[in-house]
């Protein structure tokens, strides 16, 4: 009896949330794109219905992906092809390529959308690319194995991390000079500014921490550590970071620990760990701020997190070794 009542109540709740979901779906249609580095594809998923729409073949080893400012094209770092491919999102065809320097891994766009900043992991360089002229504008020498890239909201700073040098390099975007270097923990992967631009968060995969750097003073305010009962500390390897729209929360993908940490940006304390797929690497938010999508490299899927309830609601199989994810409104 008891169980029956419980399950029927649960059923009603699910029905209600399904209706709510459908209601919100009709208002905010959006699409999720996932790059998979092993089978060289971009997977297209409907953000509302969570249905797989298409799988598009691209160049060798697609990793970092980013949308153009007008949301019309997707820039894809095809690392083994040594260039950036430009995927038209209406036709889902690669329309041209951009010269990126060798082995591009991650890229970001400047605030005006004209310049792409790409990390050349094999070359200790950050390449600046003009998307209109389709040409390389500058190369900036940084540390060994540059990886993470973050642009401050005001467009003043580009922060690049170098995996073997273990630094966050602050590059002044006006003169393209490296002006400050902040030493962080081992193998820094991702640099993410807070929406107000006052802090940049840098994840250290092997160090197992996230360094919160004050942009004004270039000082580390706090190193956030993670502890999950039953998980070895070596398996906790922070990579992707994403802030909520209002900046109140940060989400940190913890790699082989198969968890996303939810961090209160005010107290810098971990609120909760959410169980997702294996080797979770990157994440992105839906435009309405209600869902988070994560790429899970080893389990070949994408987890969908309901941000209101902080619960994982679905896993969607995508390509092999999914790497990057972006959401297009």
């Amino acid at each position: 009896m008891n169980t029956l009542r419980l399950s029927s109540r649960k059923g009603i709740r699910m029905l209600v949330s399904a209706i709510l979901l459908m209601a919100s779906a009709s208002v905010h249609a959006y699409t999720v794109y996932v790059s998979s580095e092993k089978d060289n594809t971009i997977t297209v998923v409907d953000g509302d219905t969570l249905e797989l729409k298409r799988t598009v073949d691209v160049g060798a080893r697609p990793r970092g992906i980013a949308l153009s400012k007008d949301n019309k094209v997707l820039y894809v770092c095809t690392s083994d092809a040594d260039h950036i491919e430009v995927l038209d999102l209406d036709t889902l065809k690669v329309i041209h390529t951009l010269p990126s320097g060798p082995d591009p891994e991650l890229l970001v766009l400047g605030p005006e959308g004209r310049y792409i900043y790409a990390a050349n992991e094999d070359d200790n360089m950050v390449t600046v690319i003009d998307v209109e002229k389709r040409s390389k504008v500058a190369e900036i020498l940084v540390g060994v194995e540059p990886e993470g890239m973050g642009v401050s909201p005001d467009g003043k700073w580009l922060v690049n991390t170098s995996e073997t040098t273990n630094m966050a390099h602050f590059i002044n975007l006006e003169n393209l000079q490296v002006e400050y270097n902040v030493l962080v923990d081992q193998r820094p992967r991702v640099a993410q500014f807070t929406p107000d631009g006052s802090q940049v968060w840098v994840s250290s995969e092997i160090g197992g921490t996230v360094s919160v750097i004050d942009v004004a003073s270039k000082q580390i305010i706090r190193k956030i550590g993670f502890a999950i009962p039953g998980i070895r500390s070596e398996a906790i390897q922070p990579v992707g970071i994403r802030m909520s729209e209002d900046g109140s929360r940060a989400f940190v993908a913890l790699g082989p620990a198969a968890r996303v940490a939810v961090v209160d940006s005010g107290t810098l304390e971990v609120e909760k760990y959410l169980l997702v797929g294996q080797r979770v690497w990157n994440l992105d938010l839906s435009p309405n701020g209600k869902r988070m999508f994560t790429t899970n490299g080893v389990s070949n899927d994408m987890s969908v997190i309901d941000l209101e309830r902080l619960k994982v609601i679905k896993s969607i199989p995508v390509g092999q070794l999914p790497w990057g994810v972006v959401v297009r409104p």
Partner: protein
């Protein structure tokens, strides 16, 4: 290891130093000048000439390997970081003849102010150098010797090991075999002392991880040249006859000089795989490994050296990078300060193995995951899941704290 108070004091100093160096204001885009106050950190690599090693396979290049190319890659990586921190690393190379002692050269280098040494030398020579009065204030890295004795009782305060011990390699393989449940082993041992030593390590691993030696035989045929006409006929006959023993799951060969192990695969009397020093082999490094960002690392090495990285190169790279990482964090090239930091809880080095490598504070051995390789692809990485340890899973490989007399 000893003197707790001093170590704690040093740690505090290190911590303070780290806080001070969190930001380094700098410098230019392409021409990066090193500030005038930059410190120079010189390192010396010592090795002893040995007989040219000619691999059996015609596909393997003959490399006159001293680990120098790996050390130089470490220097380049350190100096890229050094551009931002005002530290400049350099390495000098000293090779002595097989019959000569490196002691005098070591003293000369010490007199020139060198305090950081990489040693690719036999265990006895390493101890001879480590026990010199000059070496007392120096830090030595063993990059080549795999002798377990250096890790179990002949430990030295000033000596760290970036080369894995034979016990670590054998344990790494044994864990994988346990996972496969290939528990019945046929052991084939070569004629050299190091082959015996690796066989001992395999026996120890068998006892630890549930392997059973169903047969042990010594390989006594003389090693031949790799270019022999009709050599295959002889090997075909020899191995077929030699391996007629009772049933087993895998043949494990101990042939560190690579004189015959390569001949065993596909020629055994029973259709069984071959592992050990050849075939399914535990390695600290291999060309077949490209996980965890190793792609760029392998490419970088190949571009400058024109060949693929050897295990000795990798051990040399780790030693130089340990020095670099330590020097960056504690802002010093002083051997005592560096040692204290490297052996302490703060030190972690990313070495393309998926988790940080660190040093065991009881015997100075580098903890590291080990690759289980076939000649053409990566098979697995040990420690295997399920082998647990109260401190670090990496300590399931090799001699644990309680198993050594070193403290």
């Amino acid at each position: 290891m000893n003197n707790f108070g001093a170590a704690c004091l040093l740690l505090k100093l290190c911590f303070a130093a780290e806080l001070m160096l969190i930001i380094f204001p700098v410098v230019a885009v392409d021409e990066v000048q090193v500030t005038q106050k930059s410190i120079e950190i010189p390192i010396a690599l010592f090795s002893q000439a040995r007989e040219e090693h000619v691999p059996i396979s015609l596909l393997d290049p003959i490399i006159d390997d001293s680990g120098l190319a790996g050390a130089e890659q470490g220097i380049r990586d350190n100096n890229t970081t050094g551009r931002f921190t005002g530290q400049k690393f350099r390495i000098t190379f000293h090779q002595v003849n097989a019959e000569d002692s490196p002691v005098d050269r070591f003293r000369q280098q010490y007199a020139l102010g060198i305090r950081l040494f990489l040693l690719d030398l036999p265990a006895a020579t390493i101890l001879e150098l480590a026990d010199l009065p000059e070496a007392g204030g120096s830090l030595l890295f063993n990059i080549g010797a795999r002798d377990d004795s250096l890790r179990t009782h002949a430990c030295r305060e000033n000596l760290l090991h970036t080369a894995p011990s034979r016990a670590m390699l054998a344990d790494a393989l044994a864990q994988y075999l346990a996972w496969k449940r290939w528990n019945r082993w046929f052991l084939v041992v070569g004629r050299h002392a190091e082959d015996q030593a690796f066989a001992e390590a395999l026996k120890r691993a068998a006892a630890r991880f549930g392997g059973k030696l169903v047969e042990e035989k010594a390989w006594t045929f003389k090693a031949g040249a790799r270019r022999t006409d009709s050599g295959h006929t002889q090997a075909q006959q020899e191995v077929n006859a030699f391996t007629q023993v009772r049933d087993y799951d895998i043949l494990l060969v101990a042939d560190e000089r690579e004189e015959f192990g390569e001949y065993l695969s596909y020629r055994t009397y029973l259709p069984r795989p071959v592992g050990g020093t050849q075939g399914l082999a535990p390695r600290a490094w291999s060309r077949v490994h490209e996980q965890w960002g190793a792609t760029q690392f392998q490419n970088r090495f190949h571009r400058t050296s024109g060949r693929w990285m050897s295990e000795l190169d990798y051990a040399a790279w780790i030693a130089v990078r340990s020095i670099g990482e330590g020097a960056t964090r504690v802002r010093s090239g002083d051997p005592a300060v560096l040692r204290s930091y490297l052996m302490g809880p703060e030190f972690k080095l990313a070495a393309f193995k998926g988790s940080a490598v660190t040093y065991r504070d009881w015997n100075g051995q580098l903890r590291q995951p080990l690759l289980i390789t076939s000649p053409r692809v990566l098979i697995s990485v040990s420690p295997q899941k399920g082998f647990l340890h109260q401190f670090s899973m990496l300590d399931t490989l090799g001699f644990d704290r309680s198993e050594t007399r070193c403290r």
